[in-house]
Amino acid sequence: MPLNDFFGPTGRELRFSDKLLEINWILVGLITAICCIGFAMLYSVAQGNLDPWAGRQMVRFGIGMAILFVVALVDIRTWISLAYPAYGATLLLLVGVEVMGRVGKGAERWIDIGPLQLQPSELMKIALILALSRYLHGLHLEDVSKPLRLIPALLLILVPAGLVLLQPNLGTATILIVGGCGLLFLSGLSWKIIVPVIALGVAAVPVGWNFLHDYQQERVRTFLDPDRDPLGAGYNILQSKIALGSGGIAGKGYLQGTQSRLNFLPEKQTDFIFTVLGEEFGLLGVLVLMGLYLAVLVQGVLIALDTRSHFGRLVAMGVCLNFLLYILINTSMSMGLIPVVGIPLPLVSYGGTALITVLFGFGLLLCVQIHRGVDIPRSAANAW
């Protein structure tokens, strides 16, 4: 098989101009389109004002895009060598929030660095992908399922997930665990391990219940029966369903959502922005957004399949998995399919760190595509 054709340009070092030509503008266009939907919705929830959300989000988008291009143009071998140090530093920051983090919304999630507010848990989503991909890059297929090889990978996932769960931030912990396990699965983890673990997990649900915080338990209970406390814990779900449902096929029209305009929707600029979209643009608007998301994911999977290095493939899929989990968790929460967890709708919800880390992730994805023909020896995983 003519490997060179299959893997794209190889055989010589990429020049800067080569890299620029290799940037996937379709992906960049899709991302920008989704962000524009976000600006429009933030403009709407502020009752037709750029202030306080849409304007600031645009600025952050600009910063995020700059970061995206820088990340994309960095050599992929630099990223593999940075993977472990970055993971270590982020882990330290995560421990730091436990110590000096400040309380916001009942969860200690932020760290103040001068004027910047940083959510180490968001950074960890990227750091974990890099570190885990590097670790798995160094393993043969048959090694992945060997316990001694598997345990370090699990530790890479579970240590930060545990710290995030302590904050407590169930949503991010879920993304870390599911995203990490997804990478193990893609690396060819044996079904002999996967099946029993899933069975065990299902059996452990009643035990895990007791480890949930009161408010988390309450969320699950009200999820199962939102009508039992429509003013209290069931409020969000009920209001979100009312808003989405009343949107119908074509929606109530831009800036016309009564549920959000009368402030019956909570957190409408962050976690429940999908609901505003559904109310104002109806099923059609929802399908357009979901379609754009799907197109981004398809691009990501195609990039992963078309990449030579195992590290690159895993990073690409890791980014896609994270993005997918954001979408699934947020939309199914808004639709009342799962309990309320604080996960934003990626690229649309208001919020700086989340937007910038998602764009950082897409930068990595572009980077993988640009360097898809670059061969990285397995030993690179172990070189310090």
Binding site: L231, Y235, G245, Q259, L283
Partner: protein, 623 residues
């Protein structure tokens, strides 16, 4: 290059990736299906939940802001208003229900007819106000019998009341139900039963601030529209509290001193333009206006010759008479037409062509310089002074002092008055200005018309050395100071101002026209200028008759402006008594009393009141 083990790993990865993608597509279709279920299959149900009868959004009327004087005396507040509503769709026969109700509480035929008309015009689920302002006794009767009265809802609303009634009628104004035109502004809020908006005065000018923002409650209702339970409540914002610049003690004294007269008085701080008291007499009790004014009451108020419904302090326009002379004097000095030592001999009259202009003093004042002319209010001096200065310079100076304009006082209805000039004459009468008219304007007569508020602003700007302060009655909204136009300098020479100050000082303190109204307290000395404005209608037959033989409506207006203390002016006052006679005799003594109290209290030197902010709350009213 790829070795064999690597390609095995690659194939496994590809397999797993495709497997995962398939799974994701499955989950994705579940989500799409769910959206289809919510937005298409269950759309009707949720649309109904959102908008229809099952879930109603009811607005919660925000409590109206309170109004305080500068020291926190409550001037307008809200009390509970026991009222009865009828929800048309809950009764088979609204008229029968109302007749049943009429047996319990007083309910006139006219009222029943009006309610039935409202019922017909409104949507069937909208409550209509039947009656309000009930006492506890009647309200209890309705409550006890409510189960038998289909569609009748006893309810507690808000009633605006003005504890100081007539003392502040023209300042505060009153609230009343909105008209149909008003309702278009904010249909949801304004069509709440019993909701009231500011109709006049500060209530109207600051209506938007006082109104607040409505809250909303989402309630589940049954098929008949009865509320079953509240699903959600979002608190509104109570109206902002208004702190006025008034000092109620000064306001009270001013109103009392004007009682029985038709006239106005304004006291103002000369540095910032804060109005300490503003009264138009006679006043009226605004309290009945918030509910119902009986036709009898309305007729009486309208037919009263003293015109209690007019706010004369800002809408009354009068020839300023001699109170205008300080402006003429300054125009002469600033334009260089006169210097203070120039003398004019007054013989009691001046001839111009075949017309004779009289001085108020028969036989004349003799030789006058500027100081003695202001002190004695010599007309002949000011005829000459005006002639030399010319109408253009006088008009320009009058405008610098804020005459002929409105200030945007937070009491609606200000009149601009009239400062005549060549352009004005040309425009309105298509004629050339004549020197005779300059003579008339020189003594504050002719076409010149000023409001009492303008007189006070003129006096204040004179007192503060020529700074363009803007009069205002609102000090703060909640704890935020009101925005004011910047104070600019009128660019008057201090030595010129000093000459006018000295003249006005002499009017009161050196045996001038208002010597009897001198304030005898050290440091409180007042400088002033009296004025007596002739009524245009005066006939030769009435001229020279004793005062009490002239019919009231033909008597002269009495005017007085003053500031104090002379050495360091802090407050200015203007008084106009319609048909009161001589300004020094009638108006000056009132100024003396009010100014003395103002100086004793010195309100602007003390800390002003800051209201405590209210959180939301308020009465629910079904929409």
């Amino acid at each position: 290059m790829m070795d064999g083990r690597d390609s095995v790993r690659h194939r496994a990865f590809t397999r797993r990736t495709l497997l995962l993608s398939g799974g994701v597509l499955g989950v994705y279709s579940i989500l799409a299906g769910r959206m289809f279920q919510l937005q298409v299959l269950q759309q009707d149900q949720f649309t109904m939940l959102a908008e229809d009868n099952r879930v109603n959004v009811q607005l919660i009327a925000p409590p109206r802001g309170r109004v305080y004087d500068r020291f926190g005396v409550e001037l307008a507040n809200t009390s509970q208003n026991y009222r009865v509503l009828i929800v048309p769709e809950q009764t088979q026969n609204a008229e029968a229900t109302l007749r049943q109700l009429a047996q319990l509480i007083p309910l006139g035929e006219a009222r029943i007819a009006r309610v039935l008309r409202d019922v017909k015009h409104n949507k069937p689920f909208k409550p209509v106000l039947v009656t309000e302002g009930l006492d506890w006794n009647d309200f209890s009767k309705v409550n006890i019998n409510a189960p038998d009265l289909a569609g009748i809802e006893p309810d507690v609303g808000e009633l605006r009341s003005y504890p100081f009634g007539p003392w502040l009628s023209h300042v505060l104004g009153y609230v009343a139900g909105p008209t149909e035109d008003d309702i278009d502004d904010d249909p949801e809020l304004l069509s709440l039963p019993g909701f009231r908006i500011g109709r006049s005065g500060v209530e109207r000018a600051a209506d938007v601030e006082l109104r607040g923002k409505p809250g909303a409650a989402q309630v589940e209702v049954n098929a008949y529209g009865r509320v079953i339970r509240e699903l959600a409540r979002r608190e509104g914002e109570p109206g902002q509290d208004v702190v006025m610049t008034l000092d109620m003690e000064v306001q009270k004294l001013t109103e009392e001193r004007l009682r029985g007269q038709s006239g106005s008085a304004i006291v103002m701080d000369v540095d910032k333009g804060e109005v300490i008291a503003i009264v138009s007499a006679p006043g009226f009790d605004p309290n009945p206006f918030t509910t119902t004014v009986t036709p009898e009451m309305w007729r009486q108020l309208n037919e009263d010759p003293l015109k209690p419904l007019l706010n004369k302090a800002i809408t009354g326009m009068y020839p300023p008479g001699s109170t205008f002379k300080p402006v003429v004097a300054l125009a002469a000095l600033e334009s260089g037409a006169m210097n203070p030592t120039n003398r004019v001999t007054c013989t009691g009259s001046v001839a111009l062509g075949n017309h004779v202009f009289h001085c108020w003093k028969k036989g004349g004042h003799g030789s006058m310089d500027m100081h003695s002319a202001i002190k004695n209010s010599c007309d002949c001096y000011f005829y000459e002074c005006a002639r030399r200065t010319g109408i253009d310079a006088i008009e320009e100076m009058a405008k610098r002092f804020g005459l002929g304009q409105v200030y945007g006082l937070e009491i609606p209805g200000e009149k601009a008055g009239l400062v005549p000039g060549q352009a004005w004459k040309e425009r309105t009468r298509k004629e050339k200005w004549t020197t005779g008219e300059t003579y008339n304007v020189g003594i504050g007569q002719g076409a010149l018309l000023l409001t009492p508020l303008q007189l006070c602003v003129m006096c204040a700007r004179l007192a503060n050395g020529g700074k363009s302060i803007t009069p205002h009655v609102i000090k703060t909204f909640n704890d935020k100071a009101r925005d004011l136009p910047p104070v600019t300098n009128l660019n008057l020479k201090p030595e010129h101002i000093a000459i006018v100050h000295d003249g006005m000082d002499a009017v009161v303190n050196e045996g001038g026209t208002a010597a009897r109204s001198r304030i005898d307290i050290e440091g409180f000395e007042m400088a002033g200028k009296s004025g007596t404005a002739q009524i245009r209608k005066i006939t030769d037959e009435l001229r020279g008759k004793p005062f009490d033989q002239i019919p009231w409506e033909f008597r002269d207006h009495a005017l007085f402006i003053a500031f104090a203390p002379v050495a360091k002016p802090r407050y200015a006052i203007s008084i106009v008594i319609e048909h009161g006679g001589g300004g020094s005799k009638v108006a000056a003594p009132i100024a003396k009393d009010v100014m003395t109290l103002t100086l004793q209290r010195d309100p602007t030197a003390k800390r002003a009141f800051v209201p405590t902010l209210r959180t939301a709350g308020g009465s629910t009213a079904a929409s």
